[in-house]
Symmetry: D3
Subunit: 255 residues, 6 copies
């Protein structure tokens, strides 16, 4: 039995509040159990220097925690004057993942800034960030389409993430809460698109290892979990669902 | 008439949600109109080096904005690697103000960390932060008293803040929203305790000046506004109101 | 009786040496009692990015102390690699105050850099900096007018600052020296223009508060003190006094 | 056919020169094709603060490139004043991987510093770093055992890494050189122990995705490649091979 | 003829005002022509970590320029957040030079902080700093001797510095002003003790070279110039001259 | 007798491997005894801002040590976030020295980046860096000449460096190894061109001094040592020797 009485293949309760704050083009408060992340998508009308003059856009992500998002208070990274390795790793992951489902040629010389700010942490903040940021980005591009800044909806597919792991007793489980995560012998984060293809796999067995069989069991759990998450995203993206679907089909036909 | 149809002496709607996140000893989400700030109070069991061995505590504050709390996105201070002058000024103001109503000898060698994170900004973020942080701090000390970490309730009085200013047409107004603030010829932040004594006055007439008469009119508006705010705090502090009242009376008798 | 035998409404001896160093357009060594600050005004022929192309200028200030300006040596901010909150607060105050008496449209796309370097500190370094920096700026603009870089003298009024406070025994006093400042229960910095209108009021009662009556007594002391300081500035600005007077009258007639 | 005429399952030529520099406890120059990395292992007689007093050790890694290790010169990270996200990600990966095969309780309160400095880069610098750093660490611990600083050989198993990927034409390949890596639609880094269990899997399909089948083909290629790499390591660790073998068997029996 | 009508072997006018500011243990304002440097010596009752527990002291120097010490304004190093290579080179030179004439065993576990702050620059700021800092240090140690903090006067000899160079026309000259320095084909800084032995020689012929003969002519000029400077220091050190003389003789007898 | 059995005027064995790594325009691994430095020269097709539009080039140098180049491990400067004073001093010296033998007008608006990375340190790393960097720069310019990027070979003369010093027993010696350097009472670095004129002299007698006679003896030793080093460089520059010789003669005829 799991610490919070869930089945081994049971997700925590996921909720997404869209239009959470008023300024961003897309704004989502996602809760995955007790993990809560504000995911904002902002559009800037220029691209970083390495892309200028190519007519295409860019998507970049930043991730942070409120100092007291965690059980004991963390020092604010702005006070330390530098961003930790963990933070950099996570924001690179979020940015890379989102770029995998967007046709950057369709957004013009614009940058989408994704800000994921964790206000309460209970495990899985990076995967919740990806799942929520995707929805925020959908609404931001929707707004651009509505006001005719862009001509085509540029997202090709759904995108979401979850974690799987192995408990000390050897059981593979889905969607680890903080307590489980801190005890798990393996921790695997899976990012998939709506066609359930892999976008990222990051698995680590710190001070432990895992076999090919264990990997396969975890991948199966993740696949099932993500199927459910895509259903929840489907509601949260609202009318943009059909645009996503159409693009997804168009891409599949091309291949 | 004001931009949002308020009377010149009318506050925006103020709401405080206590226990907003689960980890901090005190956690408040304050809204003042469209300005929303998460105010968390965390207790750390040690003091900064300059206070060690004196048996007394310390209160310090940090203030930040989510990048997209504002109309256009701001660069994250952790990315810039340094905290701006504006941020420093505000967090010094919050810390100083809160220390004015706490008997630091009664909290032992502990530091109270106040984190004010603005998730949506529409003017008056520093005064909203003070008003909300006070309530978060009350609940944090309440928790310490309940679990017998401290013996006496260490706060002597209520504490709140608001802004007043002068519109370009010469009218003095209470509680400026962002639009008003950006046009005002004078901006005055007033921090008061529950006995309506001044804790801080910060007035600036950038590219303009103000007279003694104008100052007096603004002080009157602030005094009236803060009277209302103390009523709202009274509800938000719950059962700790009577502790505050008792301490306030004890201090007045001493004087 | 005060620690240095002054009356409660008595300023310390103020002296200003103009043309103190040879390179700056304006250079003043101001002494207020034992507080000594080198105030240099430098003209740069461009403005910060946010002002480019608008045909107007900017005034910005930097403030620092020599490491041994104080009783015990302070670590140099260049060694620490960052500027303290106190320093930022002071330099923002100096810049804002000076901008309040200058018509930035008359100086073209130029930046005035005000450097206030405290070589000996005995309380009131920020107010001495403002008083001295004003005179340095007058001479710098005078030089620009003489060599016909600008067409009109751009300063509209005198500008000076002083501090007032309340001793532990409840007496309000003018122009606090370091000893008094460190014991005072309230510390109020007042910046006024030559028409004795407020430019800035910054009052703080750290670990204490002050009443409306006390505020009024302090404002009266400051007003009297500043009247004397403007007389001293009048001598230090030399022939530019009549330009200041003429502009001051022109502004009053407009209103 | 591959760009350098290799078979799809063919590793580049790997060479390791042990005792490459004279000061470190373990020093290896590893070449994997044209990729050359100096891997040094240094022993420090203390641990980071979070481990003090627990009687166990720590392994940490730093990774850097000479500015001209690459085709065009990179700015030195010491000049930029900060370490990039890519660097942090790699050094966290190296440290985590090495810790997975070491019994930290057996090394006492010591830190092993692994320095991987790339002097020539042609793809796969992070996996070459892990493979070379492992050998450097073996020799460093061997030295500690010989001079009786530690009592037992603390490494439980071999450890090595390689990369696999998918070419634009859909072919899965082993050990990507820089040219291949920059064109590949998927890049997967695999770290395994000598029993061919997974220690880390990091797979990313930037601007592309990969299927379960493709993942399996890549895992097979990696597994075969690592089998060969372990043979090369076996020679490079010299007499310490039997210690590794004994520990590996002991661990397996325990399980 | 030189630009300022001096002979080729003529020093600029040197003046030293002792007790320049009130807080430091030793404080000197040195002028060498138009170059003006405040040299303060502060005593701290502890040493840097690498010297703790050895019963001996340390001397360290910091050097800075006011932003407008020069013809055009320089950015403050505290604003840039880092100290330039030139500054570091100079402060290392000052510290090393002063340590050469002090018996660090006689000062106990104390650090002497030398602060050289250039308020007006016209060439030769580093050599003026050394000459002035020596006198400030003499007075600081004098004060320690008078209040019996130390038992013996710890300085063994005089110490001063000057510059020599070669004009574009090939003439060797003494004590270069800024104009001469910026045109000179060689610039040589010489630090000597009162026995006219070398403490430091730093010569550079950027974009040019110099011969053995030219070196010898410059060394002769420096030697003659320093002889005069030691006479000026003799007056500035006041009653401590005889202590210096006695220690100098004691050292010579030992040899 | 010297610690490593050398004569007092005997250099350590010097070896230079050219084309050490494949990417840089010039790449040399120099060994001077156990001191080993990778010297890379990279050509960038632009100059720093202060030189733009003048049609001439620039040469700049960076110097670093691998963390474990030394007996005990040093903290990486990229981790500390700043470059030490020692490093800055050395890289300024290398850059200045190389610029003394290059006609910057002949290289167009290009920057030569010299990277000296010490992989093993045993004294004399800065002089070895200069000697090796010169050869790397020769090959880099040779390549530019061969591919007709530049029209004339821009180097006017050979350039090399060595160190001399005085042992505690008073003996002057050539080319100090680390052990000797750490005990020497004087340390003098000499940079000369192939005509044996001085480019730089940096001599320091920390906690000691040296006389004119001792200086002369050291200069003689350095001169003899550099004569030998120029012979070794002659071989390492290969066919570019005759270009160097021709330019050297042309310069001498001009004078």
């Amino acid at each position: 039995m799991r610490i919070d009485n869930r089945e081994i293949n049971e997700l925590r309760k996921i909720h997404m509040e869209t239009n959470f704050t008023k300024h961003p083009e897309g704004s989502v408060l996602i809760s995955v159990g007790d993990t809560k992340v504000i995911c904002n998508a902002s559009i800037e009308d220029r691209v970083p220097p390495f892309l200028r003059g190519q007519g295409k856009g860019w998507i970049t992500a930043e991730y942070a925690m409120l100092p007291r998002a965690t059980e004991s208070r963390n020092i604010r990274e702005s006070s330390k004057g530098k961003v930790s390795g963990r933070t950099m790793e996570i924001q690179r992951l979020i940015g890379r993942s989102l770029r995998a489902v967007v046709d950057l040629d369709k957004i013009g010389e614009r940058t989408v800034w994704i800000d994921c700010d964790v206000i309460q942490a209970d495990g899985g903040t990076r995967t919740a960030s990806i799942t929520g940021a995707f929805v925020a980005m959908v609404h931001a591009f929707g707004k651009l389409l509505e006001n005719k800044t862009i001509k085509e909806f540029p997202i090709n597919n759904y995108l979401a993430a979850t974690s799987v792991g192995i408990l000390p007793n050897g059981t593979e489980i889905l969607d680890l809460c903080y307590k489980e995560d801190s005890e798990a012998k393996v921790d695997l984060n899976i990012v998939m698109n709506g066609s359930r293809e892999f976008v990222e796999i990051q698995g680590t067995g710190e001070e432990d290892t895992f076999t090919y069989d264990e990997l396969n069991k975890m991948l199966k759990l993740a696949d099932d979990g993500l199927k459910e998450i895509f259903e929840i995203q489907r509601v949260a993206v609202g009318k943009w669902h059909e645009y996503l679907l159409k693009n997804q089909q168009a891409v599949q036909e091309e291949e």
